[in-house]
Amino acid sequence: MGCGLGKSKQQMQKSIRAAVLIQRWYRRYVARLEIRRRCTWNIFQSIEYAGQQDQIKLYNFFVFLMQHFTPASSESKALETFHCYESIEVSNSYTGPRLTFPLTFCGVSKLVETFKHRQKLHARYVLQLLGETAKLLRILANINHVSTSYTKEITICGDLHGHLEDLLLIFYKNGLPSGEKPYVFNGDFVDRGKNSLEILLILFGFLLVYPHDVHLNRGNHEDHIVNLRYGFTKEVLGKYRVHGKKILKLLKKIFCWLPLATVIDHKVLVVHGGISDATDLDTIARVDRHKMCTTGNSDPMPQNGCIHNEVRGGGCYWGPDVTEEVLGRHGLQLLIRSHECKQDGYEFCHNRRVLTIFSASNYYEVGSNRGAYIKLGPDLVPHVVQYQASQTCRELSLRQSVGWTERSALQALREQLFVHTSHLIAAFQDLVGSFHNVFVSGMVSLRDWASATESVLKLGLPWRVLRPQLVSSTCSGMVDYQQWIRELTITKPNLETMYKNHSNLETIFRIIDTDHSGSISLEEFRQTWKLLCSHIQTEISDDAIDDLAKCIDFNKDGSIDINEFMEAFRLVDLSTGPKVTE
């Protein structure tokens, strides 16, 4: 497979050895980033769980507050249960669409408009829509069979990879899916682009409304493992901090129930990756597709033959002879697949028997490639339509994107550590021994530091791996824990992590504001804070409380009104894109 004339065999060997070294090195580099990313994800997961524990404590605190503050007319609001999406309440301040089920064309087109205007769908409706989708997918066959005889033309789209602008462009040029306008979406809807979730919701929405006319094929990116690495998981967790985990869990199920292929008029096979010399549609139709963990990662090659990828889960490279054999055996005339980015958005190969279609324009960077879709009428001659979206944001580089998520996670972790300083001090003192004068030594080994921290936070995190990010310096493998505690307390807590629930906060405010004047005096604030802290067993000094109060009192008039209170906790729902760190 080498190129170049007059190249000696020795040189080729040298080239191959060099390539192998580079490949191996690169895989290792990526794996190291990967593990940092997973740690980050674990941090978010465990903090969320811990956050739920905090919310339960908060609830108990409300009860406690009510007994002390005897408010006039309080509707004690039970905290939402976290388990059932049916009980996720949608507050009046939510201005997005409120979907009703069974979903109608009205509902899904409202959804498209919402996402066009960069608004967010409430988690409750996300979960509900996904739940309905999961129910539907289970009853679908492994292979979608479609016929052109009742409709004019079928539209087939390739990889979208979270590029919402491309999907919207397709809908604009070609029309929305409907009974008269059937569509096949050939996998890889997610990862890399910024709007993977919006694309999924739109596609699933149309699937629910037109189950006979919208067909989805599973791609290799419809896989939770791949999503962890290529951005979809991060997108979901960033957009839905409280319910993201639940959403991902449901998506995992949905992905495994996606059909594997579509056959049009018994003549055209549409599948995401491709085929191999072993492809047999009858076999594919019979497998338990939800038990399969991976789908084809295959690509056509110019030479004859079929080269299977040795690595587990890999697909293969297949040649024109395999195409002829497989198509012939099944009585098919055309294979439409995706998976590979093409400069023009499409490419024929194998004597025009294989057509690659790719629908994410500007995939690598602005101007790198066009996107395309296929129109197929009863004559089954493919007509390709090309386009290019006009604006797109360049994705953060691998290192940048891991770094950013990591920073947010570490920030959240530091806040947790801050909240537990008194316990941490106690744990370290225990270590050093009660007879020791703790101010003399103050040094603990890394192993002890890790186990003490874990015993307090109980998050099950790999503390030693995280240590460089959490402790600024060590001295010959020992941690000066007193200095570390001091460093922690210097950073101000970001209360957003603890108080995510807008209506809870409002309730708190109204409880503290006993005379219903609409503002809380600094003294009232101080008292409440001390109560809160003693209740959730945190230490916070008077100075820190005063500082906090002064921070919140933006107009410096000596009291805190409801707006300042809310603003202080910055309970605006996160929109797309990275958070601006202060």
Binding site: V30, Y230, C293, G314, Y363
Partner: protein
Amino acid sequence: MAEGIQRADISASDVHSLHKRVKDAFQAFDYEMNNTVDVREITTIIYSLGCFPSQKDIHEFIAELEEDHTGSVHLDKFLPVMTNVLMEHKFPSIPEDVLIQAFEVLDKDSKGYLDSEEMVELMTKEGESFTQDEMTEMLMALADHERRIYYKDIICQLTFDQEI
């Protein structure tokens, strides 16, 4: 105890340290908190522990570990095998200068960089070829705005943190 290998005795606390490192790496991928990971993550875990196995090595490693094609690997099986790999330095790392030499071999005209097209041709056709995704990812990560990879620069940039 390993016999016939001449090196300093490995103390019990060294083994303990290795165990802790392997466990930490493993547990980063253990989502159900039941000491199992998806078999597809094993490659990443091995790499993250500082090893540079070939694809064939990985294939054999996984074959040894996978239980009944459940698709998951248990820590109890992984720990001894991986610890052994670490103790015997089975898949040693590639020093920076060797890596630069490798790039120089491929950079036949000694330009100091490789074009994206060259990289794609080499990485996806030769050796232990990249998948589509890996190739895209590498280009996005390492190519500059002129779609060139200045290999000496990127190797310097990508310094690894030392394990504790």
